[in-house]
């Protein structure tokens, strides 16, 4: 309980459910006036004994005084022990009220009193349980996440805790139901209708026993076979998935290799593409084509270019990042540069190197082709170059094409981080 909420409830009258026994009325009053709660409780008991005034006052106070909404009070509402205490309290209060009525000369037969008390207790327990479940929903995440954040808990531990909670909830619900049923019994017993009810119940029990003896083995077998079937189904689903993947990838590739067996370049390109794809799959990376990160997008572009032109493209990426619009542009420009290198590089390996850091992203695309004289650039190549340079400029980056006869061509793409 925090000091701020403590001082707040000291000024205004609030029921204190943290310190309270039943509804927190006495504790709340004691806190408001700065006296010992035992004194207030004693006053209530004395008043209750003297004509039942205290009891009525307590009930009224419980209804009228709002509860102090401390965090622990909220989380306390659904907890098991509190629910049981509330149930007992409700039963006792009702009993006290009835006894008060008796003192006043209004009396119902015992056949009503005890069942009413039991029903009140059991009903309170059930109500608390179901309402507690509702109240738990909004408050639970904050209450449960905190320990999980500070001390990392394993999934197994959480599961155990959850199942324990569930078991406790079920047992409380069971107690509540038992109380209500017991109330019914007592009522029937007292009114003499138990004999008939017992006959009906006996017939019912006998029927249930007979039926369960007949059907139990069958049900057990059914449950077992369902579990077995489920594991089998999961297994066969996994196998089907794997088979589908192999069929779509490796088998298709093998078919393509057989068809183009006469063209070693083609075969090599197909094999490399398959190798890339299989590696990505084994490593659990997303397949090329649905790449949302720089490295994967560059790999995918390289694989496409390899496939189209039959030239090996080696990609090395240092650092990785999410793709935004600007980085999609750098990938597209790099793809153009790879295409260029594959078309004019004389069939040599294309090296792609990308480095992505906090300040900038750089991509280098290099081939070892005959190179070219920048002064005598063929027209179509100039167009490609414009699309690379222009695209980079539109996205706040720059591109440089360096080339020297005999040394191949290198395209450098740079994207500085925007301020």
């Amino acid at each position: 309980m925090t000091t701020s909420s403590g001082s707040a409830s000291a000024q205004t009258l609030r029921r204190d459910r943290d310190a309270g026994w039943i509804g927190g009325v006495a504790a709340g009053i004691a806190r408001r006036f700065g006296i010992d709660p035992s004194l207030v409780r004693l006053a209530f008991v004395v008043a209750a004994a003297a004509g039942g005034f205290g009891l009525g006052a307590y009930l009224l106070a419980w209804i009228l005084i709002p509860s102090g909404e401390s965090a622990s009070a909220r989380s306390r509402l659904p907890t098991g022990r509190a629910a049981v205490e509330v149930a007992i309290g409700t039963g006792l209060l009702l009993l006290a009220a009835l006894l008060t009525f008796r003192e006043l000369g209004i009396w119902f037969s015992d056949a009503i009193v005890w069942p009413l008390v039991l029903i009140a207790s059991g009903g309170a327990l059930l109500w608390r349980q179901s309402l507690g479940g509702l109240a738990e929903l909004p408050s639970a995440p904050s209450a449960r996440e905190q320990p999980r954040a500070s001390t990392p808990r394993t999934a197994a531990e959480v599961a155990v805790a959850e199942s324990r909670r569930a078991a406790a909830a079920i047992s409380r619900t069971g107690i509540g139901i038992a109380l209500v049923i017991a109330a019914g019994f007592v009522f029937l017993q007292a009114t003499g209708a138990l004999g008939a009810a017992r006959d009906v119940l006996l017939a019912l029990v006998a029927t249930v026993v007979v039926l369960s003896v007949i059907f139990a083995p069958w049900v057990v077998r059914l449950v077992r076979s369902l579990t077995h079937e489920r594991t089998q189904r999961i297994r066969s689903q996994e196998r089907a998935e794997m088979a589908a993947h192999l069929h779509d990838s490796v088998l298709q590739t093998l078919a393509m290799v057989q068809r183009s067996a006469g063209d070693p370049n083609e075969v090599a390109a197909i094999a490399r593409r398959q190798e890339r794809e299989l590696r990505a799959w084994l490593a659990g990376r997303p397949a090329p084509g649905q790449a949302a990160r720089l490295a994967a997008a560059l790999e995918a572009a390289a694989a496409d270019v390899e496939e189209l032109y039959g030239v090996p493209v080696e990609v090395v990426v240092v650092g990785d990042r999410e793709l935004d619009g600007d980085h999609e542009a750098i990938v597209a420009a790099a793809r153009e540069a790879m295409t260029n290198a594959a078309k004019f590089g004389g069939g040599s390996t294309v090296d792609v190197y990308a480095e992505s850091g906090a300040e900038r992203t750089q991509v280098f695309v290099r081939d070892r082709g005959p190179g070219f004289d920048p002064a005598a650039v063929p027209g179509d190549r100039r167009g490609m170059r414009d699309s690379i340079v222009g695209r980079m400029q539109r996205h706040g980056g720059r591109a440089r094409v360096g080339s020297a006869p005999g040394g191949g061509t290198e395209v450098e793409l740079v994207l500085e981080k925007r301020q």
């Binding site: 490593a283 080696e314 240092v318 480095e355 850091g357 290099r366």
Partner: protein, 213 residues
């Protein structure tokens, strides 16, 4: 100077045959081995200059061969790791065990012969991919207390970036206007850092990257 004698260690017979066919015209082949035990014995027997070592083999793989050879011989041969794998933890593990370089199996015969000669000359061989791994591993601030081994110099970064971009050592020398020997020195220095650095990234990072690389 005579050509280096090479021992080929790989558990795939087909792959050994392929490498032998490609290297035979270029280098001397000292022998082949198909597993860890066989490799350790063959190294004692044939005394090769360079061992082409497969990273993935039963009973410990390339790392185990390097470890056991180092325990038995005073003058172990140079190891050049050769693997189909490009998982970071494999690369880092075999380099830290003592290999002088790492190349992937799709390397051409000529490039492989060149890499073997370079390793034999005492230099380090970094493929573009390995250069990328190292840059990644040494990215971010160096841990405290700062050790010279835990960070790359600006020049070393530059050299590695050029390797990753697909430049040959000679071309890097031309571009950076330094001598090829200086490029070699930088690469060897990076290799030493890779082997001796206590950067936790190198051990932990490898496992992490293995998952999402």
């Amino acid at each position: 100077m005579s050509e280096p004698r090479v021992l080929i260690v790989d558990d795939h017979q087909l792959f050994r045959a392929g490498v032998r066919a490609e290297l035979e015209p270029l280098l001397q082949i000292a022998g082949e081995a198909s597993g860890v035990d066989e490799a350790v014995i063959a190294i004692q027997q044939h005394r090769p200059d360079v061992v082409l070592l497969d990273v993935h083999m039963p009973d410990g793989g390339g790392v185990e061969v390097i470890r056991r050879t180092a325990a038995q011989t005073e003058t172990p041969p140079c190891f050049l790791a050769l693997s189909v794998s490009d998982a970071a933890e494999d690369v880092i593990a075999v380099i830290r065990a003592g290999a002088r370089g790492y190349v992937t199996k799709n390397i051409s015969g000529e490039e492989l012969a060149e890499a073997v000669r370079r390793v034999h000359d005492g230099d380090a061989v970094f493929s573009p991919r390995l250069a990328g791994f190292v840059l990644d591993a040494f990215a971010g601030p160096a841990p405290q207390p700062q050790s010279e081994l835990d960070a790359l110099t600006a020049r070393e970064r530059e050299v590695l970036q050029h390797i990753a971009r697909g430049y040959m050592y000679k071309e890097i020398a031309l571009r950076l206007e330094i001598s090829p020997k200086t490029v070699e020195a930088h690469v060897s220095s990076v290799l030493r850092k890779l082997q001796l650095s206590s950067r936790h990234e190198l051990t932990r990072w490898a496992a992490e990257r293995g998952l999402d690389l």
